[in-house]
Assembly symmetry: C2
Homo-oligomer: 370 residues x 2
């Protein structure tokens, strides 16, 4: 009764005459890390060595290779899974990780999104339309300024206002005071709007700090948090999701430079490790993903091929009040729309409020299901 294998898809660049040997080396590198002839352990040969499922030529000297690795090699461990997928071969520039599929047992051990799309909709009490979000920035605002901005954004009817991912426990805007003040600001705004915007604090630091920030955020009444999994470490996202009891938004900082396809890293691994919504650079913004990449990320999040819950795509950037409906036409309404700079560039609070209201109206009026 062996568990189904982990499937990993790579792009491998090698001359045709060498591809067979290159793929064999890749297969062994990720688990036993010795050539087959040096394996004198029968157990290792039988249970740790995977197999090559397919090698397809994509172009001259460029192959799409699918490996099956024993689920046992990952030991149900969120760190070791990364080693099996892209540990040592990350050091080999001719290798890219394109796709990942984990078997049901490992997916269950990893946990996946604990809230996902349906759980986040319940927490936000938003059904039948896209979620709208904006962000507290620039870093450098005081607690009072952050809370004031948070209050204005909440008053516009946004569903979510999140910290910038670069907001840490800075001395000019300490975490505990900021979270308390921003939650109060959303309470006050709710008296006008009739619905309480979810303020999402950014958790960052060493694991000890992140865990204690999470606890404090919960005690103060936060209903969701954000982390940057590549900055704090994917295994900490996994640990956090296991005991948090509220949705986690994941930010892609530090994650873009890996030779891992964004649809695999952001679309598959982030939710596998517990993200309920995944922020990624939308097409048309100041980052580099094109429409096809963005569509692939959204598809992977909403239709997981492992036994985990669907997660929200949260495209950010490249959005203005004027094109919200076009963006929703592209993604459909099971989307968390994150608009930052194009709103926050407003010259004053009144303009900011009216811009945000228009953004919210545009998003609310988009038909669902699309």
């Amino acid at each position: 009764m062996t568990e189904e294998p982990i499937e990993a898809v790579y792009r491998v660049r090698a001359p045709a005459a060498a591809i067979r040997a290159r793929v064999e080396a890749l297969l062994l590198e990720q688990t036993v890390e010795l050539p087959r002839e040096a394996l004198r352990s029968a157990f290792a040969l039988e249970h740790m060595v995977g197999s090559v499922l397919s090698t397809e030529e994509e172009g001259p000297g460029c192959y799409r290779v699918t490996l099956a690795q024993p689920a046992l090699s990952a030991a149900g461990d969120p760190a070791q899974l990364l080693n099996v997928l892209f540990g040592n071969c990350s050091l080999q520039p001719e290798i890219e990780l394109l796709d990942v599929r984990v078997p049901a047992g490992l997916a269950a051990a990893m946990g996946g999104p604990r809230f996902g799309i349906s759980g986040m909709r319940k927490v936000a009490d938003v059904h039948g339309r896209a979620l709208t979000a904006s962000v507290l920035k620039p870093v450098g605002l005081s607690v009072a300024e952050s809370a004031s901005l948070c209050g204005t954004l909440a008053a516009s009817g946004l569903d979510i206002v999140k910290d910038d991912h670069g907001l840490a426990d800075h001395p000019f805007c300490p975490f505990a005071e900021r979270v308390r003040a921003c939650l109060e600001a959303t309470e006050r705004a709710a008296q006008g709007t009739g619905r309480r915007t979810i303020y999402v604090p950014n958790l960052t630091g060493s694991p000890r700090t992140v865990i204690s920030q999470a606890r404090l955020a919960g005690e103060l009444g936060a209903r969701a948090v954000m982390v940057s999994p590549m900055v704090i470490g994917l295994p900490l996202l996994h640990e956090l999701a296991g005991g948090l009891g509220m949705p986690i938004l994941a930010h892609p900082a530090l994650g873009g430079s890996l030779r891992i396809a964004p649809s695999a890293l952001l679309g598959k691994l982030f939710p596998l490790y517990g993200a309920d919504a995944v922020i990624y650079p939308n097409f048309g913004g100041r980052f580099s993903y094109d429409r096809a990449e963005c569509a692939a990320i959204a598809r992977a999040l909403r239709s997981p091929d492992s036994a985990i819950a669907p997660a929200f795509p949260a495209p950010a950037g490249g959005m203005r009040v004027e094109n919200v409906r076009d963006v929703l036409g592209f993604y459909g309404a099971d989307t968390l729309l994150l608009v930052g700079g194009s709103l926050l560039g407003a010259p004053d609070g009144a303009t900011l409020l009216s811009r945000c209201r228009r953004f919210v109206e545009e998003a609310h009026s988009f038909p669902y299901p699309p």
Copy 2:
């Protein structure tokens, strides 16, 4: 009394006509994340916005750009420092991080190697020559097989025997039993050799698991541990180093694919976060670094430009018994030589023992200082 800034050096690809604007955008992206004209906070403008120290043309459309970012932006936080250096701009393929210099205050907050070269020499009681090390692999060995291999390697007189980085708490070789058995194997070998080889367990998993493995390893008598900082998260390395009381070897898994120069990631950031010895792919092996890159990593580790202790370069791969002295000729004797596959490919235990003894003899006979 403002602290000295963090200096970050990037390669930026942009047309000459656009480079000025591109560098301004990079400068702001990493801290305030809004265009200058949208910054309505005087504090943010004055204290969060860094400056461009230099922009040098390396070639057509390719520039070496040095930025000074306010130390305050990192908040003395090991996660937030990564954001300031390479958070959002990791998502922009035209940007590479080439070098990093942190001011003394931030270096002190980060801690650096707690043992470094001199502390590791004391722990190993090795002075006046290079340290020698090998590895327990393949993954798939049982506890008894691991301990037996560890005993053979220790009997050859190696200073260090470490776990493979892919060894987790696998059911066929559980962490606690493995560590206990391997430490006992080094004890037994010491009765023959007169000196006790340091067995280095690999810590991996979520932060909670890693911290509990570290505690257990210490209780069982381990004198050093290994982690893969990019797999478990650099901030966890920082947390671990703060309270561990023994040297930490750092493995580069998952770190190779970042658009960060290896000399910056492995040579500067790993020790800044607390690594006492840094393993990296040696030239001539199955990985991609060339001699110049390897020399730059070793130089950065041994001669830190921030106020932290020097750390051991631990080149791995591309080494055989026959070229140990050449490798030491290249690096000098303040080196931790890690030889794996070329020893472990031995057809039997007797051959393995004699090969390891030759490796040890070659390393011991290299003159110091070179």
